[in-house]
Amino acid sequence: MATNDMVEIRWHGRGGQGAKMACLLLADVAALEGKFVQGFPEYGPERMGAPITAYNRISEKRCTIHSNIYYPDYVVVVDESLLDSVDVTGGLKEGGAIIINTPSSPLEMRERLPGWTGKVCTIDARRISEEILGTNFPNTAMLAAAVKVSGVLEPGRFLANIEESFKHKFAAKPQVIAGNMATLKKSMEEVQVG
């Protein structure tokens, strides 16, 4: 039951990839921009590698709905292999978009999304993460791609605010901030919309 002034995002990932953390980080940064936010994971028998779902509602007025999101504006797929087992485009609104972590092109990914005619966006989050952070933490790159594609937050302000958020979150290990910021920027440049 989203209204026009609310953006709803559904995250699909695997336990351990940081989809939940990216979801909560998006809520955090959107709140810093004065938005009303919800960021929440859906829990089951959680373990490393199992499919997990997380949700964001970002709106101009406080949203009192506390159900899961069934008709998202955007879907973020942090692990490409989920396309084989999860109905990732289920309920996705026609005018919305799906953003997938993959080295493939939007055209190639579209073939794997039968029935979906809306936007398909791709980003090689794994490569970016490995190049810049030296390890596979795809969630930071996926978050930036989601912000760029959805336009839910203005990219410049998003980058400034998330840096503040990182300074707080990584107070004990500030050396990781520069890499994460570079990852965000690289992802915003590279995300392909098809």
Binding site: A31, V37, F40, P41, Y43, R62, I65, S67, N68
Partner: protein, 396 residues
């Protein structure tokens, strides 16, 4: 100050602002984060709480009882089977008139094993003598913890307070929140100065000794009177809290009830989802409203009856089964409260959301659809049903 916190973060932060003397700490999903965050505050020297790690919830509540009896303020947090393991001690705390504060993060009781939300844990403890206050969201979870001590510690009440929020839905969801300044919190809570306590040198006393039949019943009556007195005190504290926060609380919240013909009575986060459904129905010209029960113990029976007196059909929604074969616990209370009305609305009971079964605005709209039919036909059979089950044809 504006911030964004999960329900668990908000409760832990409230406890930090309160700076209680003792925390009895034992982890259980989904309340684990509360003692976890609080342990950081202890380690960082931001509170001077005695943080007692124990081997079970039976012991964490025992620690709270011993500390509170000694004259200290104590807090704990738990969920589900953790609360069940405290069962014996819940009664000891209440009957010893120890105003402990317990954050209950509502989760289904085993079995089958399930970590998700419903109210079966705290509803199982509804007759243990604790005041129970339920939150719809992180803001209310924070506010309720801050009000717990001024309510429980007041001499005419002296009862423990359980503040409840929905596991995961509230405890793990990050949302915007308004926090009070710590100085304002400390001033609001005040110092805990019990008249009598174990370590009072001038007047040493025993707590929790054997009570003979000649006196046991008198003690129970005093306890019952205290629970009755709690109602007025809860409203007093809410009025004081409004002065420092701008946020208004009652025994329950009436949402668009002024001229409502069809109404829901429910508890917790689903009330927020139902508010969106009510708004939609109102926009469509349906006179819909809802009552969100905030205080379940003491139960606001007379007040609720007055509010529902003008309605035509009411669905009481229980997020716990109860296995009474006669409807859930909220239904039993509500139906009993309405008995003395000369003209009563039609009443049905819907058990919903067990073990984390999600509740959508569409589900709530269906309930109102059935109420609209009942208002016309008067046909309430079957009175007691389950929403969202997959094994049978849906009645709602």
């Amino acid at each position: 100050m504006s911030n964004r916190l999960s329900g668990n973060e908000a409760v832990a932060y409230a406890m930090k602002q309160i700076n209680p003397d003792v925390m009895g700490a034992f982890p259980i999903t989904p309340s684990t984060e509360i003692p976890e965050y609080f342990a950081n505050y202890v380690a960082d020297g931001e509170v001077n709480t005695e943080y007692v790690t124990v081997e079970s919830e039976h012991s964490s509540m025992s620690v709270c009882i011993a500390a509170q009896a000694a004259g200290a303020r104590s807090v704990s947090a738990t969920s589900s089977c953790g609360l069940a393991l405290m069962y014996e001690l819940l009664y000891v705390a209440a009957s010893s008139r120890l105003p402990i504060t317990l954050a209950c993060v509502n989760r289904a009781l085993t079995g089958p094993i399930n970590i998700n939300n419903d109210h079966s844990d705290s509803m199982g403890a509804r007759d243990s003598g604790w005041i129970q206050i339920y939150a719809e969201n992180n803001q209310e979870a924070y506010d309720n913890i801050l009000m717990a001590m001024p309510i429980g510690e007041t001499p005419q009440v002296r009862l423990p307070v359980m503040t409840c929020m929905d596991g995961f839905i509230t405890s793990h969801a990050v949302e915007n929140i308004e926090l009070l300044e710590t100085n304002a919190v400390r001033k609001f809570i005040g110092e805990y100065n019990p008249e009598n306590y174990l370590l009072k040198r001038e007047n040493p006393l025993a707590v929790g000794p054997y009570d003979v039949s000649a006196y046991y019943m008198e003690h129970k009556v005093l306890q019952a009177e205290a629970m009755k007195a709690a109602k007025a005190r809860i409203l007093e504290v809410a009025a004081e809290f409004e002065k420092i926060s701008g946020r208004r609380y009652g025994l329950f919240e009436e949402y668009r009830m002024e001229d409502a013909e069809l109404a829901l009575v429910l508890i917790g986060s689903s009330a927020g989802t139902a508010k969106a459904a009510v708004d939609q129905l109102r926009a469509d010209g349906v006179k819909a409203g809802l009552v969100k029960i905030r205080v379940f113990r003491p139960f606001p029976g007379e007040e609720l009856a007055r509010t529902l007196a003008g309605t035509r059909a009411v669905a009481v929604m229980d997020k716990s089964e109860g296995f009474s074969a006669n409807g859930g616990p909220l239904f039993a209370e509500t139906r009993s409260a309405l008995y003395d009305l000369k003209e009563r609305p039609y009443l049905i009971n819907i058990v919903y959301g067990l073990g984390g079964r999600d509740v959508k605005t569409e589900d709530i709209e269906k309930v109102f659809g059935r109420l609209a039919d009942i208002a016309v036909t008067g046909e309430t059979h079957p009175v007691y049903t389950h929403m969202g089950q997959r094994s049978k044809e849906e009645i709602v």
